[in-house]
């Protein structure tokens, strides 16, 4: 199978994730979009590693997973805190930091 297909898949996943981040209001869903983008990037890394026949891309993918795990912990905690304070998980409601 042509390895380029995996790249196309990763682009599609990235686009879906990005669109989710941009259009959805629910913070949890936005967060899922972010995770989707990260994983699409991982997919691209792994694919390129396979293409070039070395392990660099896989290593980076491992790191991304690690960082994403940490990010999830913090991000969910923030969302929880906002939800408790404002009784809403909508990112548009958390708009106090403006001019």
């Amino acid at each position: 199978m042509d390895l380029m297909n995996w790249v196309y898949l990763s682009v599609v996943l990235f686009t879906i994730g990005g669109a989710t981040v941009l259009v959805r209001r629910n913070a949890i869903v936005v967060f899922m979009g972010v995770e989707l983008m990260l994983n699409s990037a991982n997919l691209a890394f792994v694919t390129f590693a396979r293409m070039h026949g070395d392990l660099d891309g896989q290593t980076v993918a491992l790191f991304v997973m690690l960082v994403a795990a940490a990010e999830v912990v913090i991000g969910l905690a923030i969302i929880m805190a906002i939800f408790r304070a404002r009784r809403s998980a909508s990112v548009d409601d958390a708009n106090l930091l403006k001019y």
Partner: protein, 649 residues
């Protein structure tokens, strides 16, 4: 460090033995001043004795150094005392060292000797002042700074002493600064001196530019090969400095007000020593002036103007200290004039400086003694008839009076006569003008000093008529005050003839200066002396008729226009007010308005306003919607990636 002292061709040899202790001259009074200032009230009981001891020890050290130097041959009397590397900055090197030569030693002896006498006097004079300790601290500070000024071997170190005496002078003029007008007088002296100091600092910079050094030996030996333009510039700047410190025209206005200080200060700083620093500066810089005839002439002209100016002002003042101050100005005018005659006048300038240091300090102390007995009254119209109650003051003051008006065989006759003779030597119109001025000055001096003497000690007792309350009970001053007056009076009488007939001063100072050119006097000098004596007799006679034969009114009569002008210092303060104070204030106010209008409200305000507007506009982008932030980030990343791709392809 061996150095050529070019004024003389004297080789400055490294000092040995007691001469290398010359630093003690500066250090001892300075330490004493520090102790007195830091010890505070704890030192009140013995502070004045410490101050006196420091000054006396400085005199002893000065005398030891003097005799040690005297022991060398005439060609080896310039001794350099190594100090430390002071400003090591690349190619600019200044070493702090002392130069002990006949010129500086003459000053050292005068300063420490008269200084010590005045310390003795002050112990009694300031006895009732709660701040006597502080007074002695300042006096010691002055002695240290003045000795540093005359002993320095570079213009930069001289400048330190120069500023030091200015500071001490300021502190002492304003010693009773709870009186607001005294504080103002101190400030005035400080500000006017600053103008002169500015000249000195510019001169030092000009020396660095043209000679690359500020050491005496480099500058003075380099002066022979330097361009006349530079030498004239430096010479005029040095003259400006000398005018400030020595109260010469046009910077003389501070000296009269400086009499606000305690009388011993007037005697030491504003008569005998500090005000002669300008003369020292000019004479020390002799080779510079020799290469710049225009600057030399300027010195002589300034001296001539001031000598008449001071004499005219002195003839109208009723305040005994201000009359003496005007006289000091006039006498320093004589010294300046002599210094402006070139090498021929240097020795006589120093000669007059030394004798003047004695008789004028003596007369100031006499004035202090009179004030002491008269409840600090200074108006001579309230004196009169004090001869009977203050016999010793009368005698000592009388000797000073005879000395200053130039009656033979007292000191002033010899020193002033020499200057008058020197002024008549030369060619063309110049000796006639300068010589005539010195003779006229001698006549006015005789008039105003006799006026002062008669008004104070003779005539009707004008303090006795019941109008003065509390009525003073004049009495002779205590022994600690009279003793210095007696010593100074002996000096006033004897110093001149001794130095003149032995020729000691000339042979002592001569190696320091370049040999003066042989000049022919334009008239017979014996005739000049005779005319001078006649003029002096006329001056005394006029004073006798006006102030002894006729009664002196207690309230000053209105007087003619000249008297009124002289009483107001020939309107010097008004001229300064109009020329500098008013215009300066207007200028500053105008600059303030320009600053407000253009800078504050215009440039600075405009920048503030535009930045604030830009910030307000940009802050509209902060919508608070996370998703629009994310969109702009995406757009940004897309742009960057797009740009990268385009440039890569």
């Amino acid at each position: 460090m061996s150095a050529v002292i070019p004024m003389s061709g004297l080789q400055a040899v490294p000092a040995t033995g007691v001469e290398s202790l010359a630093w003690l001259l500066v250090v001892i009074p300075l330490l004493s001043a520090g102790v007195l200032l830091l010890a505070g009230r704890a030192a009140d009981r013995w502070g004045h004795w410490l101050g006196l001891a420091a000054s006396a020890v400085a005199f002893v050290v000065g005398a030891l150094v003097f005799f040690s130097v005297l022991g060398h041959g005439a060609e080896e009397r310039a001794r350099s005392v190594a100090g430390f590397s002071w400003v090591p900055a690349g190619t600019f090197q200044v070493d702090a060292g002392l130069l002990v030569d006949p010129l500086s030693l003459s000053f050292v002896l005068l300063i420490t000797f008269v200084g010590t006498l005045i310390h003795v006097y002050s112990v009694e004079y300031m006895a009732h002042d709660v701040d006597r300790r502080r007074f002695f601290a300042y006096l010691n500070l002055f002695i240290a700074a003045m000795l540093l000024l005359v002993l320095a071997d570079s213009y930069l170190l001289l400048y330190v002493g120069w500023e030091g005496v200015g500071l001490a002078s300021y502190l002492l003029i304003g010693f009773w600064n709870h009186r607001i007008e005294y504080a103002v007088a101190a400030k005035k002296a400080f500000v006017v001196n600053r103008v002169g100091d500015f000249g000195l600092s510019l001169a030092i910079m000009a020396m660095f530019v043209s000679f690359g050094s500020v050491q005496f030996d480099d500058v003075l030996s380099g002066a022979a090969g330097a361009s006349e333009t530079w030498l004239t510039v430096i010479g005029l700047l040095l003259l400006l400095a000398a005018c400030g410190k020595s109260a010469q025209f046009p910077l003389q206005s501070w000296l009269g007000d400086a009499m606000a200080g305690p009388t011993p200060v007037s005697a030491l700083i504003h008569a005998a020593t500090m005000v002669t620093a300008g003369v020292y500066l000019v004479i020390r810089s002799g080779p510079i002036f020799e290469g710049a005839p225009a600057a030399t002439l300027a010195v002589a002209v300034v001296g001539a103007i001031t000598l008449l100016y001071g004499a005219i002002v002195g003839a109208a003042k009723d305040d005994i200290k201000k009359a003496l101050a005007a006289s000091t100005m006039s006498q320093i005018g004589y010294m300046m004039l002599a210094a402006g005659l070139g090498p021929i006048g240097y020795v006589f300038a120093i000669f007059h400086l030394l004798t003047h240091g004695f008789f004028k300090a003596g007369m100031f102390l006499g004035a202090g003694s009179v004030m002491h007995g008269m409840n600090d009254e200074t108006d001579m119209r309230r004196f009169g008839g004090l001869r009977r109650v203050m016999m010793l003051t009368w005698v000592t003051f009388g000797l000073g009076w005879l000395a200053i008006i130039g009656v033979p065989p007292f000191s002033g006759f010899f020193s002033k006569d020499e200057i008058i003779h020197a002024a008549f030597e030369g060619e063309g119109l110049r000796p006639w003008v300068l010589g005539t001025i010195t003779v006229i000055g001698a006549g006015i001096t005789a008039f105003y000093m006799s006026r002062l003497f008669f008004m104070t000690f003779h005539g009707r007792k004008r303090w006795h008529d019941g109008t003065v309350a509390p009525e003073p009970h004049p009495h002779e001053s205590p022994v600690l005050m009279v003793a210095p007056m007696v010593v100074l009076a002996i000096g006033s009488a004897a110093l001149g003839p001794v130095l003149y007939y032995t020729g000691a001063l000339e042979s002592w100072l001569e190696p320091v200066f370049t040999a003066p050119p042989e000049l022919e006097p334009v008239v017979n000098l014996d005739l000049v002396t005779a005319v001078t004596l006649l003029v002096i007799v006329a001056g005394v006679a006029l004073a006798f008729l006006m102030y002894l034969r006729r009664d002196v009114p207690v309230v000053a009569p209105r007087g003619n226009a000249l008297t009124r002008a002289a009483r107001a210092d020939l309107y010097q303060d008004d001229v300064n007010d109009i020329a500098f104070v008013t215009t300066g204030t207007a200028f500053v106010r105008g600059m303030g308005e320009v600053d407000d209008d253009l800078v504050s409200r215009g440039a600075v305000g405009g920048v503030t306003r535009s930045i604030r507007a830009a910030g307000a506009g940009l802050s509209r982008l902060q919508t608070g919607f996370v998703r629009s932030y994310a969109l702009s980030m995406f757009a940004g990343v897309a742009l960057v990636v797009g740009a990268l791709l385009i440039t890569q392809i």
